[in-house]
Amino acid sequence: MATTGKVVGVNGNLVSVEFEGDVLLNEVAYVVLQEKRLKSEVIRIKGKIADMQVFEIIKGVGIGDKVEFTGNMLSVALGPGLLRQIFDGLQNPLPQLAEKCGFFLDRGVYLDSISSEKKWELTPRAKTGDTVRRGDTLGTVPEGIFEHKVMVPFNLYSTYKVKSIADKGEYTVKQQIAELEDEDGNVIPVSMVFEWPVKKAVDVYKERLKPVDPMVSQIRIIDTLFPVALGGTYCIPGPFGAGKTVLQQLTSRYADVDIVIIAACGERAGEVVETLREFPELTDPKTGKSLMERTVIICNTSSMPVAAREASVYTAVTIAEYYRQMGLNVLLLADSTSRWAQAMREMSGRLEEIPGEEAFPAYLESVIATFYERAGIVENMDGSIGSVTIGGTVSPAGGNFEEPVTQATLKVVGAFHGLSRERSDARRYPAIHPLDSWSKYAGSVNADKADFARNALFRGDEVSQMMKVVGEEGTSNEDFIQYLKGEFLDSVYLQQNAFDKVDASTSKERQKYVFDKLLLIIMSNLALSDKDEARSFFNQLRQKFLDWNGSAMDTEEFRKTEAELMDMVTNKSSEPMSDLIERFEKKFAE
């Protein structure tokens, strides 16, 4: 019999309930108002009192209102039909909700996350009599550009015999497609959809592997200097207006992965709208289909109830893990994890827990660590390799990276792309700071070359600092050229024009090619007699290089600009080009 209870206290969106029977931590319960049922989650149990966070506007709840417990933890539905969808933090499909309720998000309306009417063309893969375990493939259905594996539900923990399996044909997700018999002879009917609790990591794999292969984002500064590995984690902290969201949008467009899950968590609705309205129009260069085909959007913007915001990142990561089980590379972009942490802080405050730094709860670090640890690359039971890569933005208060959320995040991620106010004010986009940021992963270009570039930047920066004190006059020509080289590297390679068709995304191959040429220029010994000549030379060179960046690879224009560019260098070089190339090859010989 289901447990029921009565409301005995209301404090903001925290409701205390006196209950009869048993209650689970993280169990879902509904507060029953006259006409509405408000979804909530148990977050603390004390004697006969359960404290619950309510995922809806709380107005109108009173003492004595009835509460119905469901016996299940907060879960998401997993099955075909998740791609292309736009959900709120609790996996409510927003477009369908709009059809039903109009402009506003009426509370207490919960729709099927996965359409129960749509039919899917099932091809059975398992046969009657097969022995299967959780995560094994029973059949496949085509979902857009992917072959979606219909698996034995992850929450069936023993070994089963396939007692019957559906014939090839069209089924809805709710229809039974197989019967499984466990060792004790119990028969379990299985459909294409099942539920999994969001706060539990999906653990159906042979082993976790080390993230090695780079995830190509097509953003040069990331791929070359601060790479991210498939199955790795990274964070993007930055003050407001530094371009976090634009960077996430670019990544969601161009990243070389199979599926992108965008968790818009507590940010502006306007930004999600851009993605919502533009993605269906954009084509994915890899497949030629609409970008929406590979995208799931979880959208719990800042004005939506805060408890659902806390749940939204878990909803997103669970869906990511589900597709990982099919051997796909999934990228989860969470914007912003600070808002998620703030949601935790709000609940913690209402629970009157002893506050940690800046009133964040003491368990902040471990919760953040657990979340990022759900990223990873795994070998599935069937030998396929799948990965979940997590990239989270952080919005530190006052742009100060010393605050708890940034610090807790830095401890667990593999790469740090710190955005800086100075760079964004100077319109140097993407505003990732080239000297402060770091990555622990191997990139797509040779590490020695990347180090060399970093050194050049560092030297350039040193000279520029010095110049602020002694002025241009007090700087030697040689130092001045170092400074110009650093600036040059920054403006033609690290900066990227997001609005230019060609420059917005740079493939791995192009990065390697262009970076080599760039390093040649940096390594060259230039015969420039004074500072004015040097400055004007580098200005011209920069202009040419930017033209080069704007021309598509393997075109006549590309080759022509490249030749002109190299000619400019040859003319000013104090050694023949062949010597320079020899020096270059010797330096970076394996």
Binding site: G64, G270, V273, S348, G349, A359
Partner: protein, 431 residues
């Protein structure tokens, strides 16, 4: 059935506690004390203990005063009769006009479904070149005006209220000085804009709880008008007072403060107000401009900082001008493409030159010798500041663009401006 209680157990600041049954969260009550009647809202339920925040404040409330629960939440009347009227934070008239009781609507309603939003596309003209030309205001945008205390932000708001091309202005005053309130009233009366305006004003001497209601009440009314096809501009002055009022209540309620005493949900609270800015497809829209004074001119103070993360850009007001560098309208690219073909280039070009002017100014102050180019820049900077940046300049966008070209022609040759030849050929003023 209305429930009446005569025993107030606790009075703490603006919050009182009574023992009562069957009360809902967010319900309103009316308290009758020796000093008159006041509304109060339920903000905490703990068993049969009910805590309410009293709109008129806790001062002068007796433990024996009568508390009558109204079985409804906070509402405001909505009709065309609101036009030209002035109310306080509880929705009571401030202008000696009749109280409005008909067609009550709820305040603080649900947020808009993101799937129903559209990409903003219409510019709102204000006649202020620093806005129209350099940082265009876009319908459904939410923008704060970051300002220090002494800046003429209310003058700016009043000018926008008079000149903005919208159907309806709603002015929300949070902790306005009484003088400022009178200033707004007079200015709009003079300018003849009062008839298309609605004021919800909380002045600094009014009870602090009413300050909390002002944004909600203003936005609830704005939302209804927008759904009826009106283009509404909501002006609020000043959101920092609103945040401070929230802080006051939170501390009274013994909530754990997070940053400089502000409650942990400051971001969510501000966001739920600002996110009311929306363009209802096929209906009207809400645009929000809200003054946020920065204590100590510190943009990292929690209120401007959290606001910056929520809004779509910001205007910086300093030295009596809208500062061209810190200010940013993040949506301007969506509209300044189809105004005039020189809009974008002129906007960028003039700002770049102004940046060079600032550098020259710095050099000059350090005693370096001025070159010819420097002299040109100095002349340009002066003209730019006086003829475009000055807040008293009041010209439509097209005139402002022409003015921009005039200033450029006054100081430079076409090549020196770094503008494309096509544009200079077309727009460079002929002598």
């Amino acid at each position: 059935m209305r429930k009446i209680y005569n025993r107030i157990e606790e009075i703490k600041g603006n919050v009182i506690t009574v023992r009562a049954g069957g009360i809902k969260y967010g319900e309103l009550a009316e308290i009758t004390s020796a000093h008159g009647k006041s509304l109060a809202e339920v903000i905490l339920l703990d068993g049969d203990k009910v805590s309410l925040q009293v709109f008129s404040g806790g001062r002068g409330i007796s433990t024996g005063d009568e508390v009558r629960f109204l079985s409804r939440s906070m509402m405001v009347s909505f009709s065309d009769n609101l036009m030209g009227r002035i109310f306080d934070g509880s929705g009571n008239p401030r202008d000696n006009g009749p109280a409005l009781e008909e067609n009550l609507i709820e305040i603080g309603g649900p947020s808009v479904n993101p799937a129903m939003r559209i990409i903003p596309r219409n510019m709102i003209r204000t006649g202020i070149p620093m806005i129209d030309l350099f940082n265009s205001l876009v319908e459904s945008q939410k923008l704060p005006i970051f300002s220090t205390s002494g800046e003429p932000y209310n003058e700016l708001l009043a000018r926008i209220a008079m000149q903005a091309e919208v159907d309806l202005i709603i002015l929300g005053g949070c902790g306005l000085k009484y003088d400022d309130y009178l200033f707004f009233k007079e200015k709009l009366e003079e300018g003849g804009s009062l008839s298309r305006s609605i004021f919800f004003v909380h002045t600094a001497s009014d009870p602090v709880v009413e300050c909390l209601m002002v944004p909600d009440i203003s936005l609830a009314v704005a939302e209804k008008f927008a759904l009826n096809g009106k283009k509404v501009l909501v002006l609020i002055s000043d959101m920092t007072n609103f945040a401070d009022a929230m802080k006051e209540i939170a501390i009274t309620m013994e909530q754990v403060p997070s940053n400089r005493g502000y409650p942990g949900d400051l971001y969510s609270q501000l966001a739920s107000r600002y996110e009311k800015a929306v363009d209802f497809e096929g209906q009207g829209s809400i645009t929000i401009l809200a003054v946020t004074t920065m204590p100590g001119d510190d943009v990292t103070h929690p209120v401007p900082d959290n606001t910056g993360y929520i809004t779509e850009g910001q205007f910086y007001l300093s030295n009596g001008r809208i500062e061209p560098f810190g200010s940013l309208s993040r949506l301007k690219q969506l509209v300044n493409d189809d105004t005039r073909d020189d809009h974008r280039s002129l906007m960028d070009g003039m700002i770049k030159l102004y940046a060079s002017y600032k550098e020259t100014l710095e050099k000059k102050s350090m005693g370096f010798r001025m070159s010819d180019w420097d002299d040109k820049l100095l002349k340009y900077g002066d003209l730019f500041e006086n003829e475009l940046m000055d807040l008293s300049v009041n010209i439509p966008l097209e005139k402002a663009l022409d003015k921009g070209w005039e200033i450029l022609a006054d100081c430079f040759t076409p090549e020196e401006t770094g503008m494309r030849t096509g544009l200079t050929d077309k727009y460079w003023p002929k002598q």
